[in-house]
Amino acid sequence: MKEYEIVIGLEVHVELATKSKIFCGCSTAFGGAPNSHTCPVCTGMPGSLPVLNKKVVEYAMAVGLATNCAISPQTKFDRKNYFYPDNPQDYQISQLYLPICRDGFVEIDVEGKKKVGIHEIHMEEDAGKLIHDETKDCSYVDYNRAGVPLIEIVSKPDMRSAKEVIAYLEKLRILIQYLGVSDCKLQEGSMRADVNLSVRLRGETEYGTRTEMKNLSSFKAITRAVDYESKRQIALLESGQVVEQETRRWDDEKGASFTMRSKEDAQDYRYFPEPDLLPLLIDHAWIETIKAKQPEFRDEKIKRYQTEYQIPEYDILILTENKHTADIFEATVALGANPKKVSNWIMGEALRLLKESEKDAKDLCLTPAHLAKLIELVDKRVINNTTAKEVFEVMFHEDVDPEKYVREHGLKMEMEDGQLEDMIRQVIEDNPQSVEDYRNGKKKAMGFLVGQTMKATKGKADPAAINRILSELLDN
C-alpha cells in the first residue's frame, strides 16, 4: 500500500472562567436552576443592548500572548446567523473579520520538538443547552450557558498524528490553567475540540479534502476518532473514490463517525459586523499590562526547578503539571523545608487524597506554613511518619495547624528512652520464642518485636529509637 500522511488542524473552544457572562451581568456559575442565569440581553430580547465584559478581552489577550500570537490593534465583533433552539438570538456574536489574536504557535514534544501554528484566536458567546426527552417528542431548553464567554483557538493544519493532537491539547490546557482563565475540562465541556483531518500521499504538497469531526469529549475519543477517520479516508482513496468535504459526528459508543452535513448543506452564516457593539482598540500599553501579569509557565518552571531544587525529573513533571501544586511546593520550600520531602508529601499523600476525594489539583487546600511545620515535626522526631500521615489527612480536609493538632490530640512521641527501655524489656519477657528465633539467626523476628513494642506504646514511640534499644538489649 502507498504511504499516506495524516494532516490535522484543531478548533478548540475554551470556556473562560469569568464571574459574569460576556455581554451581560448574569452569572456563569454551574448548577443554577434552569434559565435562572438569564436576562433580556443573553436571551436576545428585542431592544436589549450587549456591553462587553472587559475581563473577556484581557483573558483572550493573555492566552494570545502565551501562545505567541500578535494581538490585533483593532478588533470587533460580528454576527453569525443561524436558527437552532439553543441560540436564543438566532445569531451568535463572534469574530470573523478582525479576531483579537493572530499568527501564534506553541511548541510540542512528541519524538522531538516541533511548533504547531495558531491561525487565530477569537472571542464569542456560548449557546444554551438542550435536553432531549426520552419518551416524548420534545426537547427542553436552558439558556444558563447562553452568553458564557468562549475563546476559539484555531490551529494551522500542522499536526500529523493523534499523539501530536493530544500533546497540543495538553500544552494548551496547561498554559490556560497556569493563566487561571479556564479549568479546561474536556469531559465537562469547558474545553471542546473539533478535529479537521485530511490525508495525502507522503511527499505530496497539496492538502487533501478535509472533514470536520465534532463531539469529541475525551483524549481517548480523539485518538480513536483520528484513527477511524484517517483509515476511512485512506480506504476511500485506495478504492478510487473521493473524500467528501463534510462535517461528521463522532459516536464514541459505536466507535465510528457519521455524516452530519455535507458541503452542499453547509450553512450560509451571513456574517456581518455586530452593530450593537463598539470596536476595540488595543494599544501597546494595555498589552504590556497584560504581559506583566503573565505567570511563569510550565516549561520555564521545569527549567528553573532542574537547577534550583535537588529533586528528580519525575517529581518536577508532576509538581508543575498544575500551577497550584507548584505554587504550594515553592512556598513551602521557601520556608526552609527540604525540597524532596515537600515533593514527597505533595506527590504522594496530597495527590492520593485528591484522587480519593475526586477533587481537582486546583482545589488542593494546603497551607505551605502548615506543611513546612509538619515536615519539621517529623524531622525533630516529635511525631513519627505514621502519625504524620494521619495528621496530613486532617490537614488536607480541614487545613489544621499540625503543631496544634498534634498537641491537642496527644500524638507527640512522649517516650523517653528510659521509659521506652522498660517497655521493650517487658516485650522481650513476654515473647521468649521470638527472642530465641532472633538469636538463632531469624532476623525477621526483630520486626515482630518492634511491632509489639509499637503496639504497647500506642504508636507514640520513634521506630528508630525502638530499633536501637531493641538491638542493644538483644545483642548483649
Binding site: T18, K19, S20, C24, G25, C26, S27, A33, P34, N35, S36, H37, T38, C39, P40, T43, V51, L52, N53, K54, K55, V56, V57, K76, N81, F83, Y84, P85, L130, I131, H132, D133, K136, D137, C138, S139, Y140, V141, D142, Y143, R249, M260, R261, D268, R270, P273, E274, P275, L278, P279, L280, L281
Partner: protein, 98 residues
C-alpha cells in the same frame, strides 16, 4: 439599473430566513428586494477609495463593563412569554442536529 432577483435567490433567501412564502408573496418580495438593491446601489456612485468600512455610526471605542454579576434570577421574566414550559425549561419540538 435594475437588479434582477430571480426565483432561485428568493427560494434561497427565504430558506435562510426560515420563511415560507406563498407564490404571490414570492413575486412581491422579488419586486421589493430588487427595489431595495437599486436604492442601496446609488451608494456605488460615491468614490470610497481608501475609506475603511464602518460597523456603526458612533465615534466611540472600548466601551466595557466590569466582570461583576449584577443580575439575579431572571427565569420568571425569561419564561414569561414562553408558549410552553416545564420546570423552568422552555419546551420545544424535539430538535437533534442531524
Amino acid at each position: 439599473m435594475t437588479k434582477k432577483i430571480d426565483d432561485k435567490t428568493i427560494a434561497y433567501v427565504s430558506t435562510l430566513a426560515s420563511l415560507e412564502l406563498l407564490p404571490e408573496e414570492k413575486e412581491s418580495a422579488k419586486k421589493d428586494l430588487s427595489q431595495m438593491l437599486d436604492f442601496v446601489d446609488c451608494l456605488s456612485q460615491l468614490d470610497t477609495e481608501g475609506v475603511s468600512p464602518m460597523s456603526n455610526v458612533f465615534n466611540e471605542v472600548n466601551v466595557f463593563r466590569e466582570d461583576e454579576v449584577v443580575n439575579s434570577d431572571g427565569s420568571e421574566a425569561t419564561l414569561h412569554n414562553a408558549p410552553e414550559k416545564k420546570d423552568r425549561y422552555f419546551v420545544v419540538p424535539k430538535t437533534i442536529e442531524p
